[in-house]
Structure formats: C-alpha cells, structure tokens
Symmetry: D4
Subunit: 241 residues, 8 copies
C-alpha cells in the first residue's frame, strides 16, 4: 500500500499513535485482507513504534515469514487455533495488571475465535482462564469448572463463546455474580446459521448481566473483558500493595 495518493498528493494512512495510551489496548493487524508484503511492512512499523506487533487471521505463507523474523531479539508467540501471532521485543511484554478473565466455549469449533479473545486479554495484561467444550447438550460438564472459576480463581468477568443455538451464555449468566460477555460464533448452517441464532439468543437472554459483541469478534470480546478486568484489578492491585 502506497502512502501518498498519486493524483492529489494526500496521505493514504493517518496512524492513531495515541490510541494505546488513550484506550489501554493494543491495535491488532487483521492480516487476512492484506498481502504478505503489506502485513510484514505494517508489523515492522508496529514493532518499531510499540516493541510489539499483533496479527490475526494469518495465512500459512505469512506465518512462515513471521517465523523467519523471530530470533534472538524478537520473540514470536503463535496461537495455533486462532492462527494469530505476537511478535515482540523484550520491552513489548504487557505489564501484568492482575485482571482475571474467564473464557468458556460451548464446542471445539468455537476455540479459534475464543483464542483470539484470550490473546487480546493477555496482551492487555490479564490472566485468562479457559474452559473449553462444555456445551448445553451435556450440561454436567459445565458445573465443576465453573465453580472453580468463581471460587478458586475469582474471575472479574467471563467470556462465553457459542455458535449454533448459543444457549450457553444465558445458562452461565444465570449462575454467576460477575459480568458475562457473549461471543457468538459463526458455526451452524440452515436458518439461523453462521452465528445468527447464537447472536439473537444472546440479545434475547432472560439472564440480565450479559452483553454481546458481534459474531466472530474475538478481539472485541477480549478487549471489553480486558477493560472490565483491568478496571477491577487497578483497585485490587493498589489494595494488595
């Protein structure tokens, strides 16, 4: 991508360098709509500016290039299910905030997007506690891990990812005393498929205390959960000093 419009000389990109400071969260490069060269160039730009570059929906070709780039100075963290990457220099490690994010997925197909949420919350300094594959078709699998999240970990917020009927977030929200973020996943076919039934069901929940992000918006779910957890942790940390 050139950076100057050839017809008028206007700039094509206006970076928002103040964003991380203003919002407390990093930008994520959505790699799937860019060429390998574009993604590499933007990643290097982020590395130079922030000591860190985060890329989601990475193709195998780009993944290979990122692996070449990693080395003694630059560390590569690779999320296999999400196909997402974090490149960083030592100064690019997020400072632990003490925020605690629970992450529950209804089925194994939800894991790639759930992992995007985990990545985002971790890069905001939170600890993330995943519990995968506990769908409503066999609810007994849910109760024990959920109790662990609430009483042992004492999470600040829980993200619940679910596709198809999207019933799990309502069930969880009915049981817990912390905010729940519903993350609908684009699995399922036919009427209500591609996450539509899941999103509608979460919006229609009869369990107050649940808010949602859009279908497959793992980054967005991690971002708001990270903000919620970090808000709580800010005061907890101070107290614990």
């Amino acid at each position: 991508m050139g950076e100057i419009d050839e017809f008028t000389g206007s700039p094509l990109v206006r970076p928002d360098f103040g964003r991380e400071e203003r919002k407390g969260m990093p930008e994520v490069i959505l790699a799937e709509s860019k060429s390998i060269e574009q993604a590499m160039s933007i990643a290097q730009h982020h590395l130079a500016e922030n000591e860190r570059a985060i890329l989601s929906r990475v193709s195998p070709g780009l993944a290979a290039r990122l692996r070449q780039m990693a080395g003694s100075e630059i560390e590569l963290e690779w999320y296999e299910h999400a196909r997402a990457a974090v490149l960083r220099r030592p100064a690019g490690r997020p400072k632990p905030t003490g925020g605690r994010v629970g992450l529950i997925s209804a089925g194994t197909s939800d894991i790639p997007i759930a992992e995007e949420a985990m990545l985002m919350a971790r890069e905001m300094g939170c600890e993330v506690y995943p519990v995968y594959d506990v769908g409503v078709a066999g609810l007994h699998r849910l109760f024990k891990p959920l109790e662990h999240l609430l009483t042992k970990v004492d999470v600040d917020v829980i993200i619940v990812a679910a596709g198809m009927d999207g019933a799990l977030p309502s069930v969880v929200s009915g049981l817990v005393p912390v905010p729940v973020i519903g993350l609908p996943i684009s699995v399922g076919y036919g009427l209500g498929g591609k996450g539509i039934a899941a999103l509608y069901g979460m919006l229609q929940t009869c369990s107050p205390g649940l808010a949602v992000v859009n279908i497959d918006n793992g980054i967005g779910a991690g971002a708001i959960a990270g903000m919620i957890a970090n808000r709580a942790a800010r005061f907890r940390m101070v107290r614990e000093d």
Copy 2:
C-alpha cells in the same frame, strides 16, 4: 359466512368430515378471526357432527355466549390462560389412549400457548403432565421435575415451550431419552423478538432429538406430541391388556 357464492352458486365451504378418522385428531376453530355469530354457528355444527366443539383464542364476548350454551347436556371446559373452550356432549369425551405427554414451559408468559398444546393432546386422549416456569436463568428449578417426568411418569414425548432466547428445549433435549418438541413463543422485543430467536435457536440445537413447530403454534405442538404418544400407547395398551 354464507355457504353459497352469490355470483356463481358455488359452495364456499367444503368440510373435511373424514379428517378426524383419517388423522386421529379433532379440528380446532380459531375464533379470533370470526364474528361471535360465525363462531357460534360453526361450533354448533361441530357439536352436531362430532359431539364436541373446540375453540381457541376466544374473546370475552364469545366466552359469555359459550357459557350460556353450557348446561345439563352440554359441558363447557374452559382454559383460562389459553382462553380456549371445549363444548361437549357426554359422547364427545375423548377415549383415553394412555399416551403420556410432558409439557415444560420456560416462563409464565409461555403458559397461554403451552395450555393450547395441553388442550390438543388431552382432546386426542393423552394424559398431559405440565411443569411451568423453569427457565434457564435458574436451572436448578428444572432438574427435579424433569426427573419426575422421566422416571415416575415415564412420558412418551416432551413439549418444551420457550420464548426470548429459547434455550430450554436444547437443555432438556440434551438430558432426556424421549423425543422433544420445541414450541417457540412470541415473547421478547428488539432483534430476535416475537419468538424469532427462540425458533432459530431450536432449529440450531446441538442436541439431536428435537423437532419444532412454528411460533405460538400450541395446537400444532399438541397435535404431533399427541400422535407420538398415541403411537407408543397403542402398543403399550395392547400389551397391558
């Protein structure tokens, strides 16, 4: 409603008298789209033909008229929540089939339509076992009555009525060894409201063994559940003789 087209002399109504015998289920007069006089006239027609008339969505005015009609020979059964009525002569009582239908509703707003399903299954000769107000926002209320239905009653089929997120049928279907009929209810507002989210969620269920009828189609849910239960009861009855 006149019975002959005045311009051409053709009949306006062609009754399907063979239906009850062919299908094993009575016709229900949907009163809400008819005048009181029309509904009364059709009801009398059914009484004369079948010793029984069933009316759904009855207005207060029509209800008053039906009450006047009841007396020594004609009995009136009134479903308050559904605002439905059965008028019958002694010969119009359905012969008990031994079919057993469980009926679960997620919230109190679902009761009027659930009661339509109860009425229909009862008029097909089944016994109906209702469990109301056990929504997913407090799942602990579900488990005990459900166990009762399965082990004490040994139901042949369960109808689960739910509006809003419509999550309960999937939860129930994941737990039981009998067919489940999902009955979406038109409660809820906003996106996915009026039963849409509930219907979509039931169609997208991850718990096989669940089939659905349309939103608010309580009569239809009772009809198929009655057929399922009566099929099982036919052989059970014979055996028990």
Copy 3:
C-alpha cells in the same frame, strides 16, 4: 394469575428466591403485560419478600394505585420518563457499593430507556451520572461533559444510549479508557428504523471496548454496567477503608 394449574394441580410459578443473592441484582416486574391487579399482587409479594418492588413500563392506572399504596412505611420512587416505580420499606434501600456508572444519551427520545438503565444501576447500589442529548449531529456538546465523567467522577463504565444511526457509542468508545455498554433505542422509521441501524452499527463498531444489549433493554444495560462497576468498587471500597 392463579398459582396452580386447574387441570393437573401443578404449580404455575416457580419463584427464584435465590437470584438476588446469586447474581447481586434485583428482579424487575415488567408491568406492561400484566393487569393492574396482577401487578399489584406481584409487587406486594416482592415487598414482603425483599422489602422492595421494582416495576417498569407502568400504566397511568397502575401508577395511581401505586401512589395510594405509598405512605409512612412504604416509600415510592417514581421515574417519570421511564414510567417506572420503586416501592420500598426502609430496609429495602440498596446499600451503596461505590460503583460509578456514566450514562450518555444521544437524543431526548432516548431518555425513557436510559432512565431504566439508571434505575437498575442505582438499585444495585451504584451512583449514576447522566449526560443527556449529546448526539453526533453537534459533537461539540459531547466533549466537556465526557471529560467531566472521566476525570472528575472517574466512572467505572459508561452506558451510551442511541437510536437512529447509533453512531454515538462508537464515538465515545474511541475516546475513553473504560468499558462502554451500547444501548440501542427503538427510534427512527424506514429502513433500519426501530433501533435496527443503531444495534447493527454498535455491533460493527471500529472502536474495541464496546459491548451491546438488545434494543430498548435499559434494564439489561443497567444490570451489566452495575455488575462491572460493583466489581471495581468492591476492591476500591476495601482499599479505601
């Protein structure tokens, strides 16, 4: 509403008395789908059980009855725009949690639903800080009150209510370091009307840190914002002791 099914003897309502303790939030009686007598009866039940009854979408007739009920022992708090009421005995006052909820509305038509959110968060013990009528068609009205919320009040979370184009939550989320809850409002006609465009726009936000509830779900927005604020306040309060 009778409490026992007349045909089978089953209960019609299964109250969830453990909910307030389990979730930390009160139940709200949606009055619009009930008769005055039903609403009064349920309200008295809540008063007896919890020292408090909350009613939303109250008709003028019911409001008159509630006013009669208020007196020396029972206090009536009336939300004029939302047409919502809180009846309480002295013991029914929510214990202040120290949670701080910002509440921004885009236009004056959004105020009734925004007020529902205010009511819910206040009944969960939070302090609510409203800023009304700051739509995107004149953005200069937004900046000063927003800075006040962030630096003077130091809110834990901001609810942003908006109908029509629903652009305000994205604008606010781009500017603040706390979680934002988008509350779409059913104003607007034509394509995307009744809150659809607002909800879609919030789901499509390019400002991470925003989650949404359904159209006109003011109670739901207040509930999750209250939970977020109370989670933060729990640790702040302890620290400040």
Copy 4:
C-alpha cells in the same frame, strides 16, 4: 487438534461419554470441517470406545483412507449419495429395535440428505423404508407407495424431505395417521432458495401432525424419527414376545 491448551494447560475437548446411553443415539463425526488426520484420529477413538464410528460429509480423500482401514475385523458401510460412512467391529452393530421409519423425498436432489436421515435411524436400530422422487408436480406417483407404507409396513413415523416449494410434507401430513417430520433441503435459487421456502412452508403447514428440523439436518431428522419409532417399538416388541 491438540488436546491441551498450550497457554494455560486446560483441556481442549471434554468428551460426553455418557451421551449414547443417556439419549439412545450415537454421535456422528461431521468430517467436512476437519482435516483427514483429525477425522481419522477421532474415528479411531470412537471405534475404540463404542466399536463403531459414524462419519458424515466425507471427502474423497478421507473415503480412500477409510476404505484402507476396513478389513477382516472392521467393516465399512458406505452411503454413496450422502457420502457418509460407518466403520464398525462386529460388536458395533446396532441392536434391532423394531422401530419402523418411512422416508419420502420429493426430488432426486433431496436424496443425499435423506440418506443421512436413513443412516441415523438405522444406526439407532430402526428399519427404514425409503420412497424417493415423488414430488407434488406429479402427485399420482405418491399415492401407491404411501399406502404401502401405511398398510403393509405400518410405519411409526414418516420423514418427508423436500426443497424448493417444500409442499410435499404438508400433502403427506394431510393423509396419514402417524407423526411426520419435515426435512427441508437446500435446493432452489432466487427468493426463498436454499431451502428457506421449504422450511417456511413446513412451519406454516395447515396439516397438524408435522414438526420440522433445520434445512439439510438429515442427522437431526433421523434422530428424532428414530426416537419416535423406538418409543413405539419398545412396547410393541415386549408385546410381541
């Protein structure tokens, strides 16, 4: 698919081994969203656990691998139209229940999904009686086979698969005294295409006694039909002893 989350050490899959016993139906591996290696590994897992593995929507490459696996001890049953497979050891044969499932399809394009329903019902121990290609555009083809199903076979339930206008299930349901399961198929283009018109039409049926599953959900149609037939057969079998 790895089985442990590399970041937190949590398990990625929580199998529901009690499901077959609880529900009386086997799990089906949806192969189309998995790599050949993943599908093979899960299939072997099922074979070890249940003496049987069922795979739907199998690619040619996977089919070749499955054929290699079959041999003296492991039998491969291949459904050509559905592209589905059953691998089993002798102990993995379903015990015949005596359940009888009729299966009618409106056109030849409906056969692949209809065959999924057949597979599922057969693996639940039912006998399945297919009647293919009897669409409403030439109704005379329907009557004779339907009479055979009803009087000679005496089926417990009929699945009717139809795409495009989806009119056949209503026609069949109007004629038979057993429950009908509508299975909409994603054929047809333009408005109402991809099975939408078929599903809507089945939900709007004027023939009570019909319930539906989602578009192309052959497994789901077979599952509920199998449960209905097995419920009836349970009592018939006992009687016939």
Copy 5:
C-alpha cells in the same frame, strides 16, 4: 383532496383517461386509504366518465352511502366477502368477452381476496368459475372440481389463492394444461406468516406454468388472468361467429 397545490398552483392529480382503452381493464378505487367524502367524489367522477365505478376495501360507513346512491338509474353490485362495490349505469356493464377464468382457493380465509380477483376478471368481461376451500390438508376435495373446470368449462387460466404453506398452486399447476396465476394470501402467523411462506413457495414451485402476483393482490391476479383469458377468447369468439 384539493386539486391544485395551494403554494404553486400546480395540479395535484393527473388522471390517465386513456388507460382503460390502452390496457382493456378498468381502474379500481382503493377506498381504505380515503375518507368517505373523497371516495364518494372519486366514484362519481368515474361514473360520469365511464358509466361505472369500482371500489375495493369499502368501510361499513362508505357502504351505507353507496347503498343510498344506488337506485333506478344506478345499480350497485356488492361483494360481501371482499367488501367491494361496483356502481354502474346500464351503459357501464362490461361486454362479455367469452374469457373463462377458474378460481380456486385453499381455505375460507382466502375468499375475500379471491373475490377481488373474481370482481376484476368479471369487470373485464370474463366468466369466473370459483372453487373454494380445497386445501392440501385434504386433497381428495380438489380432484373432482378441478376436472370439471378443465373438461366441462375448459377454462383459459386458473387463479389459485392460498395462504399459510401456499402449497396448492404448485399442486394444481402440476395437474393442468393451462396457465396458473398464484395469489398468496396474508393468513398465517409466526415465521413465514402473513403470506410470506405462501409467496416464497409459489416462486420456488417445481411445477412450471405458474406465475405470481404479490400477497393479497387480488385485483392484480384478476387483471392478468382476465388479460390471458380475453386474449384466448378474442380468437375463439371470432371463430365461433
């Protein structure tokens, strides 16, 4: 309605007097969106111009006024089900064309709109042959009247009106050698209700030879059927001379 814009002096209405001659069909005054005075005034205008005025969706108040207007010179023809009226002077009788239109309705709720179609075709000079209440839930009622239409009457075209599942037009089109016009009716509730499923099903028909008009467009169905029949009759009439 005034006839001159008061601000600019421009005319508000530009009548299309050449239309009847150009198209061979009369205009119909849709009364439901007009005041009684407006409708009366337009009707008198039509009477003066064409010796005939046709009004559809007439309120009881307007009907009373029209009855007063009828007398020795002006005849009133009243369609009770459609609530439509034709006022005419002797010269306003349509000249019989010899066109023959079959008209089939699936249920009694379809009759009001079906009657609009009858009215329109009759006012275009056709003979109309109605067959009412022959829905697919009891197909045996269809065959005999249909054979009569085809062999005794030898109709030029058949209009088939149906709501809910809208299956009847496809069934009829599969059986007849003349063009079929599908007329979807806005009966039915829930998903696909208000005629949507019926319209989608007719568009998706697997029986070529069927074209459709919009939901409840009885006038439009009568208009195209009348044109088809009159085209055939033009040559038949000449031949028979």
Copy 6:
C-alpha cells in the same frame, strides 16, 4: 418535558443553537411523538429564538392550538397534505436564495411526504416547482412537465418521490442533466411493501446521478436538495448582481 433530571440534577436537553448558522437549515419539530403541551412549549421556544417554528406531523388537536396562536404578529402557514405548520414573525421569513428545486411525485399517495420536502426547501429560501401524479403506469404524463422544469425553470436539482415499485426516479434520472434525489414512500403492501421495494430500486438504479434518503424522510430530501440548490444559487445570485 422537565429540563433537569430529578435524580442527578443534570440537564435533559442541550439545544444546538449554532446549528442553523452552521448548516444553513432550520430545525423541524417532529410533533407526532410529543404531547400538545410539549410541542407548544418547544414551538414558542423556537419562535423566541429564531422568529420561526416549524412543526411536522401535527395532530388535529395541536393544529387547533396553533391556529389560536396565529394572529397579527405571528403568521401561520399550514401544509394540509403534510399536516405541517410554520409559525413565524415577520423577521422569520427565509431570505430567498434563488435556489430552484423540482419536485415530482409518482402518485397522489406520495403528496404528503413530498410536501414535507417542499416545506423544508422553501424554508431554506428555495423556490419549489411541484409536478404531482406522473407515475410510470402512464409515462406520457411525465414528459411535458419534465421538459418545462428543465428548460423553462432550469431547476438545480429534482426530488422524485415514489412508493410501490419506485421506478420513477430511475426513469427521471435517465433523462435529466441535474442531480436527482430519490424519496421512497411507504405505500404498498405485501413483499417489498411500505417503501422497501421503492428504496431498494432507487439504490439499484441503472441511471447514475441519483442519491436517496430514507423512506418517508421528506424533511431530509428537502434539506439536501435545498443545500444543492443553494450552493448553485450562491454563485448565480452573485453573478446576476
């Protein structure tokens, strides 16, 4: 409407007094969602501030009150079809800009909304030239008035209002060398009714040079047309001096 939130003391309304100057267009009070007292109070506020108050969708009761208010000092301009009103003092007359707006409607049902557009453009100082009732079902009525608009008046922009099939804006845009604003109207029933087909058709136009506003947004159509015409007129006026 109170102007201070009673719970927090925050203002409820934040007027945007700079808007008329900033945008060159007046605000319009949408009266239909306000009580008569509220509308009167806001209107007086506008009169005091701007010497002019514009009210749309005025009820008969409010109209009566507005008529009482008019007198020697305050003039009332009443748009009968739109049911809209302008109250003004002599200083509140818009200064003629010389902008020229053509306004074409397809049918008489489109006139109320078209008149809203006329009102808005006139209050921005433009001259408006309406041509009503020239739908595509009789195109010959269009050509002569259109030629007049283009050659005699030399309009700067044309608004074309149309409901149902919404074909007229495309036809007009194909013929004229000035920008066209499509204004879809909510007439028509069935699929694509309430202005949906009209809006979709205008968005899909094959005649470049056409942009649209939302269904029934007459004020919006007048606003952008007024801006276009005034931009042209600004330079024309100067030139003509």
Copy 7:
C-alpha cells in the same frame, strides 16, 4: 446416479412420463448440478423417450461431449448466451403452434436468462420475438420496438427481463394490452442486489397485468408465456383454417 437404493432396494428415480402430454411442455435437464456422465446418460434417456433432450447451464466440458454426439441423425441446437442445448432427432421438432411471445430485456447482462425463456417457449412451439438492451436509463430506445411487437407481430404475451432496479416491466406493462411476465435477473450488488430489488419492484408494480416468476427462472418464464400464447393460438389456428 444408481437407480436402486442399495440398502432397501427401492427405486431412486420415478420418471413422470405423462408430464409432457399432461402439461404441454417438455422437461429441461438442469445440467449444472450433475456430472458430465450423469447429464449425458439422462439426455440419452430423454432422446430415446421423446426424440429430444433439452439441457440448461451446460459446462464447456459437457458442451464438447454434446457436440460429439450430434451428427447426421441427431441435431444440436446451441444457445451461446444461455449455454443451453437441444439435441433432437427429426421427430423431436416441436410442432409450430402459432403462439407469439415477445421478449424484452433491460440490459445485456439479462440476455443469458432471457435466452433460456426463448428456448423454452420455442420448444413449446411458439415463435419468439426478442428486443434486447432497452433499459429505463434511456427509454427512447424502447418505444419503436415495442410498437413493432404490438402492431406488426401482434404478440400474445410479453416477457420482460430486468435486473438491478427492475423498472422496465412496470413501464412496459403500463403501455401494452397483453399480459406481461416479469423475469427478475440476479445482476446488481449491495442492498437489493442479486435480483431482489427487481423482484420486489415487479411484485409492487402499479401497472396491473403483470405477474412474475422467481429470479433467474428463465425456463419458468418461457413456460408460462408459452402456455398463454398457445392457449390464444389454439383458437386462432382453428379460426384461420
């Protein structure tokens, strides 16, 4: 495709040999969903049975095979735009009926589907008179060819194909005294794209005398137009004898 179900021995295909005689129209083999071998086998079957085989949506590979098949005895007629083929022996030529079908397309993208309609009507024995590329963005191109169709050819029916705004069928229907069949085409992107706006607009037409088929259903448009024309021609032919 095998012809016997391997599991049950039931037939997979039930040909409807009486259809051509019953309906007066040939079947068309939709080749795009079949393998080359399947399509060839079915085509040979039709050739043997009817002396003619018609294939639509033919791939280049299949086209090559069909060309090899043509020879001295079997003639191949190839429709380049539609990619459709007719194979026939001398006895397979349709007998001319004298039916006359006008065929108008709005743009060049509509030609492939329009050609399918032409093929179908010609194979039903009609003469087809195409007028292509006369969209509403330049209406002057329409009038002369239309007059030719009406006065010189004297067509019995006109098919009008249009995508995008779909305005042309309404314009044509407003001008002609014969039935018009609207054929919406799936061109256009964005909202209302893929033929949706075109179909909605035709359903909402303000020009009575227009009926529609589904998007891209060229075969269906040709079928009903052919039936209309043949009905008229039947009597004209007799007369002209």
Copy 8:
C-alpha cells in the same frame, strides 16, 4: 459477445450514444463480468466514439493488455487501489468545470471504492480533494483536514466513504454547510456486515443534508457529486469570467 441474435436476427446491444450529452457524464465499463476480449472490444468502441474509455474492476490480465494498448497516441491513467483505468486520446481529456469535490474515507479499506468515486468526478471535469483514514475511533484526525476542505478549498460537496458502523458521514454532515453523499463500503463481518450497518446508519442519520448511494457504488457517488459540483461551478465559472 455477438451483436445479432442468431435465432431471430435481432440486435443484442442498443448503444445509448446520446447519454453523455444528455447527462453530462461518461459511461463506465464494468470489466469484472466480461472476458478480456469483450472488455478490449468495448473499450476500443468507446475510444473510437468518445476518444476515451473508462474501465472499472480490471483484472491483472486485462490490465496487462491495456498497458500494451497505451502508447504515443493513447494515454493510460491507472488507479491502483480501485484497479480502474482510463484510456484516452488527447481529445478525450475532460474539460475542467471548476467543480470541487471533497472525498473523505473512514478507513484504508474504503480507499478502493473511494478512488472509483474520485475517478468518476474527475472524468466529469471536477477537481477532487481526498482525505483518507479519518475514522470515528480517533475523531481528532478529522477536524483539521475538514476545516481545510471547507475554508481553503471551499468544496461544493463532500463524499464520505465508510464501512463497518458507517458513523463518519453523520458526524461530517453535522459539521458542514455543503451537501454530503454517503458511500457505504462492504467491509465488516457478522450481523450488519458487508456494508449493511453502514448503509442503514446513513439512511437513519440525524444530520439532515446527507443522501446515500448503494454499498460499494463508488461510480454512483462520484456521478452525483460531480453533478452537484458542476451545477455550482457552472455559475461560478461564468461569474469569474
């Protein structure tokens, strides 16, 4: 594409040579639905007729061919982001009109379509002033360039391109005294994705003075903006003489 229908001898294409003169805008060849040979042939036709050919959505293969065609006499202007081309002879340069079009995009993904709008307005003789990548998630980037457009350039109209939440056009329209054309872009996934939320939001704008074109219709946005600017420039130019 042949130019004569082989079956009937009718022409396939009816060019509208008067269009550029009638409307003041050139035609654009949408290359993506054409073969390279077809596109080249049509381009040469345009070059011969108008000294200029404009092609949008050009494939790499076609781009290579166009580059070969360029030379001493024929100049090639290439828009890299839009993948659009202008071929012209010296006489094909548009005469500068003095029209001034502002062009703002919310994100970098909007640039390809924004560039189509730029191309179109430039080919109509306007000067275009782009400001890219100023989305609402960091509004401070907007104010300075916007002030430049308004006060330094004094633009006649502003096009605002935005995908996802589509909030920017409303924000801009609230701030500027010139007409704004909203151009929704098909970026974004999940509910409201592919430009739907953006389009809905623009239609629902609370900032009058905004009209829209369809999703991704860059050519259409440039066309109407060019017409608006050229109308203003016509009088400005004259004045400045």
